[in-house]
């Protein structure tokens, strides 16, 4: 009977513990995931041409053939501020794979945004939609909202509110668009 416990009960306990841990880890991972939601009908991303805070023009057309992340934000918007550091970390990895990130500020001038970047340093272009014409062309009703545009110029994913942009699964979803 003792031998029976040793050679049968222990392995069974080990296997059960392994699977329970695996199930728990899967649930926790699923609950903490950073979803990007598919855009119904994948419409073409409305084109725009906006200056960044250094006065350099950026047209979406210039990025055709690339996957582009377009984020709409404002300096006074707390969740927008919250996600900027993770956007920067993601950008550092994604730009090496040829993926671009454009953050379109809504309604604020270069001085305001420049001052803000002292506390929130980022290296991706910060574009200025001074009269909010570009944001109105997009299906956006609240800040922050982010779209992922595929290499054919279509809106494929959307996120409303913040995400941890350097989340591995989220970045992989974006990288998969290059395939």
């Amino acid at each position: 009977m003792r031998n029976y416990s040793r050679f049968v009960v222990f392995p069974i306990t080990f296997v059960m513990t392994f699977f329970i841990t695996l199930m728990f880890a899967t649930v926790v991972y699923a609950e903490k995931s950073q979803p990007l939601h598919p855009v119904t009908g994948t419409p073409m991303a409305p084109d725009f041409s906006l200056n960044d805070i250094d006065g350099k023009p950026h047209a979406l057309q210039d990025y055709r053939g690339m996957v582009v992340i377009i984020n709409f934000w404002a300096t006074w918007c707390p969740p927008c501020r919250y996600e900027l550091p993770s956007m920067e970390r993601a950008y550092q990895r994604l730009k090496k794979q040829g993926i671009e990130m454009l953050a379109i500020n809504v309604g604020e001038d270069a001085d305001t945004i420049f001052t803000f970047t002292v506390d929130y340093p980022v290296t991706f272009p910060l574009l200025m939609d001074l009269d909010s014409k570009v944001i109105k062309d997009y299906p956006v009703v609240g800040l922050p909202t982010t779209y992922v545009v595929d290499s054919k110029g279509r809106l494929v994913y959307r996120a409303i509110g913040t995400r941890e942009w350097d989340d591995a699964a989220l970045m992989q979803k974006i990288l998969d668009l290059k395939k």
Binding site: V27, P35, A74, W76, C77, P78, G107, S132, G142, G161
Partner: protein
């Protein structure tokens, strides 16, 4: 007296048929109140396992400061500050393992105040006033995006954070009746006894205290 029971019964069923679609059963949820950790001000929150709506008091002084810094005149900022503004965080907290899509329209929500049924003052209503008053464009843009969207559709983990305006004076109490659709099914919930922030000045914090 002679009743045509068939006709009466028929009328009752027709009446029920008309009334039933108008009735929205309350969704199961709980209301939590307390002090918001970030704002250090009272909050009221309705939540279940799919959705949460948190209203955090904004002191009129905070609202004055925010809008004057964005180009509103003192008197215009005063009008907003006196309008019972709450910082509102509306989230779809459904998880991938238990998904749900939330759609709402603030124009369908009801503010119950001293026996009256009122509506929220949504951003489009404010916008008309700002256009008439010829408020500078940058200020109008900031105002428009600072208020929570009037209509929105949230998929799991989506959320917005913005102001809501109740058109009541500081310090007043009201009940809020909310409606929304979860996966296309109309639902409702209520928060009772919400208090507009009083018009008080913040005490300066002692950095050494």
């Amino acid at each position: 007296m002679c009743f045509d029971y068939k006709a009466v019964t028929g009328l009752i069923f027709i009446g029920i048929g008309f009334l039933l679609p108008a009735y929205t059963p309350p969704a199961k949820g709980e209301v939590i109140t307390g002090t918001d950790e970030e704002a250090q001000l009272p909050f009221w929150e309705w939540r279940n396992d799919v959705m949460s709506v948190r209203l955090v008091q904004r002191l009129p002084d905070q609202t004055r400061a925010f809008f004057t810094a964005r180009g509103f005149t003192k008197s215009q900022a005063e009008v907003i500050a006196q309008g019972c503004i709450f910082q509102t965080v509306y989230k779809n907290i459904a998880t991938p393992s238990k998904p749900g899509v939330i759609e709402y329209d603030l124009t369908q929500w009801k503010v119950l105040y001293q026996g009256d049924v009122r509506a929220l003052k949504v951003k489009e209503a404010w916008q008309q006033e700002w256009e008439k008053a010829k408020v500078p464009q940058p200020a109008q843009i900031a105002f428009f995006w600072a208020l929570i969207p009037t209509q929105q559709r949230f998929e799991p983990q989506d959320y917005n954070w913005g102001m809501t305006s109740y058109n009541l004076v500081p310090g007043e109490k009201f009940d809020l009746e909310m409606v929304w659709r979860q996966d296309g099914v109309k639902q409702s919930g209520a928060i009772r006894g919400i208090e507009c922030a009083p018009d008080v000045e913040l005490e300066p914090r002692n950095p050494f205290g």
